[in-house]
Assembly symmetry: C2
Homo-oligomer: 456 residues x 2
């Protein structure tokens, strides 16, 4: 029988990240300075990021070597396992062969440390003493706390107040890894004090938390800021996932017909998909690449492709991306990592040019797939990757009807050990689905975009 | 550099469990019927367990073949990884080489599924429809819920009321795997109704929950009961851990000088240690085997070696073991899996005959080791295995002083993703240590043993 786990030996851990910018059939639109309307340059980003990350953000080289110190930390959990979902296939009675690349083996329990570790490394190397960041439910904050511990950096996290109070366990995990965690809004920044003066009982938002973390970073040259998705260098770091999966599938003689991954900011999907896109463009395979987003936050399938801010209150450069408007507030769905108004410019460009597909799924369908997966494969998935699982199950059931033996590769980007309250809501039938009408979304996006600065 | 992860290929998964009874230098004392004082026979256990498990309980064969259906489920996570703790060693500045065998990769997040899966398999094969069990914090209940889902069995769990109310996430995880979970005491059994009549707001105990699960099992021939530690067949199933670790250490040319594991009922420690004891008795290595127990529940280091009940209210046969008295109530330490008044008869016999050592550790020292481990190795350990980590760190620091390059093998039996409230207590300095005076323990044990039935 074909093995259940396809394990890549540690000495075959990829030593380069793949830069999809090198191979794009058409170049993506530039990132613009909101004041000048002109493309931003490295100096604009220097108060926030070290120069090596800024250069990676705009690099046209096909590959970037992974530093040895980063590989040493990656080896704590990488190469991550690729699984054949024998028991799920049997339960579905499908001729499809389902594989899942599992990133839940990492210290934070998701794919986030793949970029947190190099971000911490390059910052430490440049003499930075501390990193600041924001976090919602806490996945990204946990990853950065762990990464900072590896390179002797302090780590300061602003966690959205509602999560800070209601989900204390992610906060504790950040503290176990040595981070200092503040509820946001806080009295520690001007942005936080302003919000608290207006709304003393504010439960916060990711936008406010970003403002606080950025403000704390720019005031001290020894302090930088780190972001967990959306940007080119973040997606670059995540390609280690797809490079491993390529080798692992080849080890069992398989070529994928369909690759599915969930998309919030886009780093999980991009990390798995980009190396397969390279193989597709080289004519070595022809997989369909399908991004799966929540129906409650459908940036690719219902958003507008336009320049918009990356944050809610307008501190960032303007990026051309699929957006629901920078002040869009998604429903409080349980897949907190997918509640983002925009989509990575790289993923947006690939979608706009027809290289990838996208579908939206309601969360009840996703949790149903998650429970079936747990009962067959033994892993309770995070709410985010249940979106990919729902799409994989859907395709496998199509195969059952058609008799096609498709090879489906799924990004299982994290476990759900800290998301059991969400499963409890699903099992108690208190999950609420929200499907947007196209017209409602489009008028909201149009209104948000009128509030942008005029571009020259 | 030596690899961080020593991965055993899936086709080298052990196909036999090792039965330490075959090789014991002296046989252990028999288990006695509390009514007759005579050794119990298979028929005494038939209302609770299928005959194949009863025969494994008393088998003298050196090896028991693992059924193919059990191996198929084991392959979801087995062989489990063996890690070299490079980054912990560096932080300790020790010449010792520290390895940890990690069982947190299993569906329940601990070593418990190693026995839950074969127990569910043999029961399903014997025509049983449902398994009942008790659980405290929920590790064992989760493992059995998962195992029952694999073989189409119903699973009914009585969870101690205090845990049921205060730690809802383990309950949810059992429900995700398909189990029905009741708070104990419940109105569903005579035992539960009796307790509730006397104490309507009872928060329950493991002893009461055992009574309810056993009562529900014996009333229906299609329902059996399952136990997660202590018994010979449970320790037999766990030897798959040690058999894998033996091969993995040999792959990197290492022989252990010290093996440390935490002990509650004894199945984690026995599972790792027994195959190494076989090698020791065969003259192929000479490791020290050290059990580590909580100072708040020191059955090996301060208990009495005597016949006692396995449960609190006296339903089980009498087992000769190290005991704190069947009505001993340990402090509510965070390592719930180590809060048991007795010790597996096999482990007790090996301790009494000088084959293994034991030490007791206060929980604050254990959490300190757990936090250091998380910050270096990236895995947040469950409170139980932090006891083994504390002993490993202690030995590694001795090696730093002496310059000895000892090889230390540690049983890391589970992750702490559902134990973060315990870490929060530690980081908030609200952990309480309890060290028993020998005299206090011994008078308590003596009093408990006077309440036993007279043995002929």
């Amino acid at each position: 029988m074909m093995p259940t786990k396809i394990l890549l030996p540690e000495d075959e851990l990829p030593t380069r990240w793949y830069n999809v910018l090198h191979d794009l059939p058409t170049p993506p639109p530039p990132v613009l300075h909101p004041g000048t309307g002109q493309p931003i340059g490295p100096d604009d980003l220097a108060p926030l990021f070290p120069m090596e990350l800024i250069l990676q953000e705009v690099s046209q080289e096909q590959y970037v070597d992974i530093p040895g110190e980063v590989l040493d930390v990656y080896r704590l959990w990488r190469p991550s396992p690729l699984y054949r979902a024998h028991r799920l296939e049997k339960a579905l009675d499908t001729p499809a062969r389902i594989y899942y690349k599992y990133e839940g083996v990492s210290p934070a329990g998701s794919h986030k440390p793949n970029t947190a570790v190099p971000q911490a490394y390059y910052n430490a190397k440049s003499g930075v003493r501390k990193l600041t960041t924001e976090t919602g439910a806490g996945q990204w904050g946990t990853a950065l706390a762990f990464a900072c511990a590896q390179f002797g950096l302090d780590c300061e996290v602003w966690q959205v107040r509602a999560s800070y109070d209601q989900k204390p366990y992610r906060r504790t995990m950040m503290q176990v890894f040595g981070a200092t965690v503040h509820p946001s809004p806080s009295e520690l920044t001007a942005a936080g004090r302003k919000i608290l003066a207006e709304t003393p009982d504010s439960t916060g938002s990711l936008g406010i938390a970003i403002s606080e973390a950025v403000e704390a970073a720019v005031q001290d040259p020894e302090v930088h800021y780190a972001l967990g998705s959306v940007l080119n260098h973040v997606l670059l770091h995540q390609t280690v996932i797809g490079e491993e999966a390529l080798i692992q599938l080849a080890m069992v003689g398989e070529t994928p017909d369909l690759i599915v991954g969930c998309t919030g900011g886009g780093s999980n999907f991009g990390g798995l998909a980009f190396p397969f896109l390279r193989e597709k463009w080289a004519g070595r395979m022809s997989p369909v690449l399908r991004a799966v987003e929540p129906a409650a936050c459908p940036s690719l399938t219902q958003g507008t492709y336009a320049y918009d801010f990356g944050d809610t209150i307008g501190l960032t450069p303007l990026m051309k991306m699929h957006t629901l408007g920078h002040d869009f507030v998604p429903d409080p769905i349980h897949a907190g990592g997918l509640r983002y108004h925009g989509m990575s410019p790289l993923i947006s460009h690939l979608y706009e040019t027809g290289e990838i597909e996208a579908v939206a799924k309601p969360q009840s369908e996703c949790f149903a797939a998650g429970v079936q997966f747990a009962r067959t494969e033994g892993i309770v998935p995070a709410p985010e990757p249940t979106h990919a699982l729902a799409a994989a199950v859907e395709e496998a059931l199509h195969c059952k009807e058609s008799g096609e033996e498709k090879v489906i590769l799924t990004a299982l980007c994290g476990h759900g050990h800290l998301d059991l309250a969400a499963y409890n809501a699903y099992l108690s039938n208190t999950i609420i689905d929200r499907n947007w009408e196209d017209a409602d979304i489009q008028s909201a996006v149009a209104a948000a975009l009128t509030r942008l600065p005029a571009l020259s």
